[in-house]
Symmetry: C2
Subunit: 396 residues, 2 copies
C-alpha cells in the first residue's frame, strides 16, 4: 500500500513525541511536570458547565455548518469591543483554531504555493501547510533581536510569485513576542501591496503582561480583503477541550470557499458551541485575574531560568511560553535522558525541544520551549528538576 508523500514528510509533534517515554516514566512512579504543552491549569469559567447542565436537548442534532448563531453573536460583540465590526457571515465556527487553519490552508494553497511564517513557529503549522501541499518560507528571527519579524525588507525578500500569505502568531507561540501597532501596520502594508493574505493567529490575544493593547489584524479597514483572524476559546477561557474556534474574515470569496469546507464536515459540536457562547459573558475581571496569574508565573520561570548556569532566555511579552537556550547540544536527547535516566525528588519534567519550532535545518537544537501553564509552586519544582538535570547531564 502507498502513503502520501505529504504525510510521510509530516513530523511528529515536538510537544507530544515523548509521550511514550513519559508514560513509561510514570509507570516507574516518577512524577512529571508538564511544561511541554500549552494546557493551562486555570479553571474554566463556570458558565460553560452551567450552560451544559441547563441544556435540555433531546435529540443531539447537527449545528448549522457555519456555526451556532448565538455563539457567532457573542464573538461579534467581543470584537465590537475591540473596535471591529463583523457581520454574521464573517465568522465561521471551527473545531478549535486548528480546524480554522486547516480549512484556510486548503482554501488558499495549491501544491507548491508558499506562505511566509516567522520562525521559530508553532510546529503544527508544518502539518496544516504540508497537508495542503504548501511550502513554508521561514523568516528566521532571533532572541537577541526580540524575535522581531515586522521588517519590510526581510518580508519582501521572501516574497515570490508563489507567495500567498503571511502568517504570524500574536502574541507569539513559542517566542512570547507581541507586535506593536506600528509593526502590525508594516505587515499589513506588505500584504496589501503584494496582494497576500495576512493571517493573524491571535488565540493568545488577552495574554499580554506589560500594558500592551489588545490588537487584531482585523482592525485595518484598508486590508479587509487580505486579513484573516484565527481565534479560539481554548486559551482565552482555558477551555482547550471544548474544541471551539473560529475562522474570521471579511473577504467575501474566501468566506464562500471556506463555507463549502465547513459544510463538507457538517458541523462543530452543538452543545459545545452553546456552552462557549456563555463564556463570552465573563467580566473583564476574569481576564485581569488570569493575566496577573500568568504574569507571576512568567516572572517565576524567567527568574529561575536566568539564574541557571549556561541558560539563556529573554522576557516574553505575551502568550504563556518562553524559549530558552540550554547548555546541551541536543535538547531531544536531553529530554529523553530526563525521562529515562533521571529524577529529582521523585520527579522529572518535560519541555518541547526547540528544533521542531524551526524549519531551517539545525536550528533550535539547543533550545527548548517551556509553557508556564502550571502554578508558581509547580514551576519552581520543575525548575529544580531542570537545574539538577542540567548539572548531572553535563557531568556525564
Amino acid at each position: 500500500m502507498n502513503y502520501s508523500m505529504r504525510v510521510k514528510n509530516c513530523c511528529q509533534s515536538p510537544m507530544r513525541k515523548f509521550h511514550p517515554d513519559a508514560e513509561e516514566a510514570k509507570r516507574r512512579g516518577i512524577k512529571i511536570y508538564h511544561l511541554n504543552i500549552g494546557q493551562p491549569d486555570i479553571i474554566t469559567p463556570a458558565p460553560y458547565f452551567e450552560a451544559l447542565q441547563n441544556s435540555s436537548v433531546e435529540t443531539l442534532a447537527y449545528a448549522p455548518s457555519p456555526g451556532t448563531p448565538s455563539l457567532v453573536q457573542q464573538m461579534r460583540r467581543y470584537y465590537r469591543n475591540l473596535g471591529v465590526d463583523y457581520a454574521m457571515d464573517d465568522i465561521l465556527i471551527t473545531a478549535g483554531g486548528s480546524e480554522a487553519l486547516q480549512i484556510l490552508m486548503n482554501c488558499i494553497l495549491d501544491p507548491g504555493d508558499e506562505i511566509i511564517i516567522p520562525e521559530p513557529f508553532y510546529p503544527n503549522y508544518h502539518s496544516f501547510v504540508e497537508m495542503a501541499g504548501g511550502v513554508i518560507r521561514q523568516l528566521t528571527t532571533s532572541m537577541d533581536q526580540g524575535y522581531s519579524y515586522a521588517d519590510r525588507e526581510k518580508l519582501e525578500r521572501l516574497i515570490s510569485d508563489r507567495t500567498r500569505a503571511i502568517l504570524f502568531t500574536n502574541p507569539g507561540n513559542p517566542t512570547g513576542a507581541v507586535l506593536t501597532e506600528p509593526e502590525m501596520r508594516i505587515i499589513a502594508d506588505v500584504a496589501k501591496e503584494h496582494g497576500l493574505f495576512v493571517i493573524g493567529d491571535e488565540v493568545y490575544r488577552e495574554f499580554v503582561y506589560n500594558d500592551e493593547q489588545l490588537l487584531t489584524i482585523g482592525m485595518y479597514e484598508d486590508i479587509a480583503d487580505n486579513a484573516v483572524v484565527i481565534d479560539s476559546v481554548s486559551k482565552r477561557f482555558s477551555a482547550c477541550g471544548a474544541r471551539v474556534g473560529a475562522l474570521i474574515t471579511k473577504n467575501r470569496i474566501l468566506k464562500q470557499h471556506a463555507l463549502k469546507l465547513c459544510q463538507s464536515r457538517l458541523s462543530v459540536a452543538t452543545q459545545n458551541q452553546l456552552a462557549a457562547a456563555a463564556l463570552y459573558d465573563v467580566k473583564e475581571r476574569y481576564f485581569n485575574d488570569v493575566r496577573r496569574e500568568y504574569k507571576s508565573r512568567r516572572d517565576t520561570i524567567l527568574r529561575r531560568l536566568s539564574a541557571m548556569d549556561g541558560v539563556v532566555c529573554a522576557e516574553p511579552k505575551g502568550a504563556f511560553y518562553i524559549m530558552a537556550k540550554l547548555p546541551v547540544d541536543d535538547t531531544d536527547a536531553f529530554q529523553k535522558w530526563l525521562l529515562s535516566s533521571f529524577s529529582h525528588d521523585g520527579a522529572t519534567m518535560m519541555f518541547a525541544p526547540g528544533a521542531g519550532f524551526y524549519k531551517t535545518p539545525g536550528k533550535g537544537r539547543n533550545e527548548v520551549r517551556l509553557a508556564y501553564v502550571l502554578c508558581a509552586e509547580a514551576i519552581e519544582k520543575a525548575m529544580d528538576v531542570l537545574q539538577a538535570g542540567l548539572f548531572d547531564y553535563n557531568q556525564k
Copy 2:
C-alpha cells in the same frame, strides 16, 4: 488574492445548498419538511446527557490526541461483539466520520492518486478526496441492478497504477444498498490482490431492515493491512451533534501516519468523548426499537413514492435514504420552485437533488435522495407536498 484550484473545484453540498431559499420560505411562514439531510428525529439515549451532567471537571483540558481511553475501550467491546478484536491503538477517535475521512485521504492520496467509489455516493466524499488532491474513479451503479457494485470485472477495469483505495458506504448512502458477505469478500479479494486500501464507511451499520447480518470490512484477517473502517456515533445513537467518530485500522504504518495528523489538531472534544463512551452501554433493545421505527418509515415512504405517477424507486435495504426518479427534467430547479413558488397546506418539503451524488456529468438530474428521518406522520405530509408539487409543476 489567489484561491486554491481544489477549493474552486469543490461544490456546494446538495444537502445544504438550498439553505438560503429554505430560510426565505420560513420567513414567509411556510413549514418545511426536511428530507434533505440525514438528521434523525430519534431521541439521543439519556446516558449521553447523564454523563455530561455527572462530569465534574474544573479545567476543560485537551483529551489525548488518539482519543479518550474509556471511549476506545467501549468501541473495542462493541467490535468484539461483531467478532473483531482491535487493539487500543487500532482505533483513533475523530470529530465524526467526516474527520476520519479527511485524515485518511490525507494519509493515502497524493495529487493525482485515484480512489474507486461506486456512484451515486455521499457527496462530501468529493470534498475530502479533492482537498487531498485525489481523483474519484466512479463505478456507476443503477437502481434496476440494486445499485450493486461488488463486481470483480467492473472494479478491476477501474484500477490503474495510481489507484490507492476502494471506498464504499455500507449500508449505502444514498442508495440503501447493503453488501452481502460474498459481495464483501469479492471487494476484499480485489483490494488484496491489487494492494489497495479497502475503506468501509460503516456509520449506518445497525440500520438494516431485512435480517441482514451486521458485517464489517474489518472482519477479514487476511486483509488486516488493507482494511480501514470509518465509524461514528452520529447515526448509531442519533448523536450527530456530538461530533465523535473513529478511524479504525490494524495497519501499523497507516496508524502511525494518521496519529501524526491527530496530534496536529490536538484532540477531539473531551467531554463529548466521555459522553459518547456512555452511549455504548445501551442495550440491544435500543437498536431493535430504532430499527423497527426506521423500517416502518421506509415502508411508508416507499409506499407513497411507489403510488406517485411517474416516480420510480426501489426498496432500500439499509441506512435511512431512498433514491427516487421524479418525472421532472431537473430536480435542482424543482427544489428551487418548491421552496420559492409552492406550498401545500402551508408547507413544502426538501430533498437532496440527485446530480450531486454522481461524478458522471449529467447523471442523476431527474433523481432525488430522500432521508426518511422523520416520523411516519411527517413523512406522509411531506409526500402529500411532493405529490401535489409534482402535479402542479408539470401543469406549468
